[in-house]
């Protein structure tokens, strides 16, 4: 206890220095946590929001290659297929091009069976099946544009040469990507003059053990046809889109590491400064009987306290900021995983220990007579 008091006294001796060091560590760990969260959040989004029994069947050749609508009927009669919904990407914009959010048309009949994890209310499902211009909108998009249920909105076509007028009948919650907007494909098909092509056919398998078998039977069934298919579990399908951004994630991770190095330098510098100034004092402590081991632990405890305070402050701020600010795009709201908080605190602890260990052990072992004699 008496040691704790001594550590505390030392910390408050130069308040300005302690505060500056805590702040610089906090700022850096804030950045570290935010950067390291990005890939972790993307991975977790894929793992969490994807259903293990939902698979996406699309053209093997690439995203702009379509599937004939007629495939839907063939898929529906495949064993272990519980529900099927074809999807066409509309890619409309609300007002400005920069307002882009994912919007697509799906078959309304089996929305409830296909996406039971998207928390669509029975009333909304009922209205979506009843109203041809109905739309279901994710919570984030609702909030971003100030939409409310019952509102009529117009989306400007970018791929299609027309606009669609939609009535919002309900919201998408639960595990639904919060920026999505779904409307009815029969409405889109009619407006487009029934081209008979779809982008993705979503398939709900009756139990997850049958997924590999269903995937194999679909892809084999359509092999050597005019449109060969590639069927993937939902996580792999979305993961394919994210794969193109691996460079962003690599850069983010690289920056995270550089930031940690930077903090290391800052902390080591401060620790060295503060210990250097106390050399003769440490010698006094030694000469009145404090063992070197105790002095070393006290100095380390001091540095550790500063680093952990900075770590908590920085990682905590990152957690709050990420919670408040949401990123646009498919990923939706970013939330910091607990593992990142843990990593940030471990990084802080390491910084605290490593930065002080060299100057502290040197000071603790220094010859008492020399230290007392030296002019500070």
């Amino acid at each position: 206890m008496k040691y704790a008091m001594l550590v505390l006294k030392n910390l408050t001796r130069s308040k300005r220095r302690t505060i500056l060091t805590v702040l610089s560590i906090a700022v850096s760990l804030f950045i570290f946590s935010a950067l390291v969260s990005m890939p972790a959040v993307a991975n977790r989004f894929l793992a969490d929001s994807a259903s293990t029994t939902r698979v996406a069947c699309h053209n093997k050749a690439g995203v702009t290659y379509a599937l004939p609508e007629a495939y839907k009927q063939r898929i529906a009669v495949t064993p272990h297929v519980a529900a099927v919904s074809a999807q066409s990407w509309f890619g409309g914009v609300y007002h400005e091009i920069s307002d882009q959010f994912p919007n697509m048309a799906v078959d309304p009949e089996m929305v409830g069976e296909m996406w039971p994890d998207w928390d669509i209310s029975p009333q909304a499902l009922h209205d979506f099946q009843r109203i041809r211009t109905g739309a279901l909108v994710g919570t984030e998009t609702m909030k971003k544009f100030g939409f409310r249920i019952g509102q009529q909105i117009m989306l400007r076509g970018t791929i299609y040469p027309f606009n669609v007028t939609l009535n919002i009948v309900g919201t998408l919650g639960g595990k639904a990507p919060p920026s999505f907007l779904l409307f009815r494909r029969d409405y889109l098909e009619e407006a487009a003059g029934r081209p008979g092509f779809v982008d993705v056919i979503w398939v709900k398998v009756d139990n997850s053990a049958q997924v590999p078998q269903v995937i194999a039977s679909l892809d084999e069934g359509f092999a050597n046809s005019s449109a060969e298919t590639l069927t993937e579990p939902e996580a792999a399908f979305y993961g394919g889109f994210l794969a193109g951004y691996r460079l962003f994630f690599q850069i983010a991770e690289l920056m995270g590491i550089v930031v940690v190095f930077t903090i290391g330098l800052v902390a080591a510098n401060t620790a060295a400064m503060s210990i250097r100034e106390r050399r003769s004092e440490i010698a006094v402590l030694r000469s009145i009987g404090f063992p070197a081991r105790v002095i070393l632990s006290m100095l380390l405890a001091e540095s550790l306290t500063i680093a952990l305070a900075g770590g908590l402050l920085g990682a905590g701020a990152a957690y709050l900021v990420l919670k408040l600010v949401t990123m646009e795009g498919v990923i939706g709201a970013i939330q910091m995983p607990a593992s990142v908080l843990f990593e940030a605190l471990v990084a802080a602890a390491l910084i605290g220990l490593l930065s002080a260990i060299v100057p502290a052990s040197a000071a603790a072992r220094r010859n008492i007579v020399d230290a007392l004699r030296a002019v500070a």
Partner: protein
Amino acid sequence: MAIPLKYNLRSLLVRRVSSAMTGGGIALVVLVFAIVMAMVAGLDSAIESGGSPDNMVVLRRGATTETVSGFSIAQYEALKYLASIRRTPSGEPYASPELPVQALAARMDGSRDNIVLRGVQQIGMLVHDKVHVVEGRMFKPGLSEVIVGRGLVKRYRDCTIGSTLHIGRGAWKVVGIFEAGGSSFESEVWGDLYQVQKDSARGLYYAVVRIKLAPGADAPAFIRRIADDPQINLQAESEADYYRDQTLTADRMRALGMVVAIIMAIGAIFAAMNTMYAAVSARTKEIGTLRALGFSPGAVMLSFLIESLILASLAGVVGVILALPVNGFSATVANLQTFSTMVFSFRITARMVFEAMLFAAAMGLLGGWLPARQAMRMSVVDSLRSH
């Protein structure tokens, strides 16, 4: 009178470990700043350098990119012979109908990316005046032959002359490799327009017409004609304008990089303040001596600011030098607007070096300001008495 610079240089050297660590922090911040900016500059350059000054892009009305555009062959026929379009000596217009589709291609490690498979006619090579076949030959019309961009070679499987490349639904024979001035076209595969239409199986249509205007042609009048003629009813804009709107990817990266760099800079400023405060308090007696010798409080403050500035500028130089090796490093990233993958090279420009140095100097000034002011305000008698 100002305190000699030599005093500052020597002071920095006396505390060399501490100076090096503070400088190291600033150098790393400058390094991150420079790398991100080099990436943004590379992305910008890959996208913007695709355009030629007298070229126009014609898309379906409302379409934001080639990827989402599409119109009938009749609309193309209606605009093809407009007078403001340049002609070859044999009278063929410089109007290149194209169909870029997103097709999956296998990288060397087996993972698959969307890349652009662009259907063009032979005239396309004249309209895109930056595109040149550098190895092998141009594809022949009517055959399943393709030429591949330089950026794809060694990154994607079968992108060598003589190989059979499986992209889209078909199998294509690679007959040539082309360059396009470092632009994102170098991340594409080009084949015969009709063959690509057949491959995408969405019927006969074009997504874009690239046009080279005749010398002296009235571009605004051309744009109005394209929009107002009921037979055409498309939208035209200059390639420069078109590519200026395609910077979403680079803009996002720039925003992220700036936020990170600025927050890191705040951390580095705290560190610099710490060091400079320590420098001031360790030299209390020296400051008193300087004042007693007749240097004004302003000169003392200026001297400490200069010291901080020297340290930060040296650190800035180190940071920029550390960042230099990324110049020319090439990487791939998906374009946020078209989803297609593009290859680009990091670019360090003179302007960026200048900005990085300014950034470092700003960190030094901000970090040195408060400690320097404290040094200025010390009383001469008290500081001489301290020990």
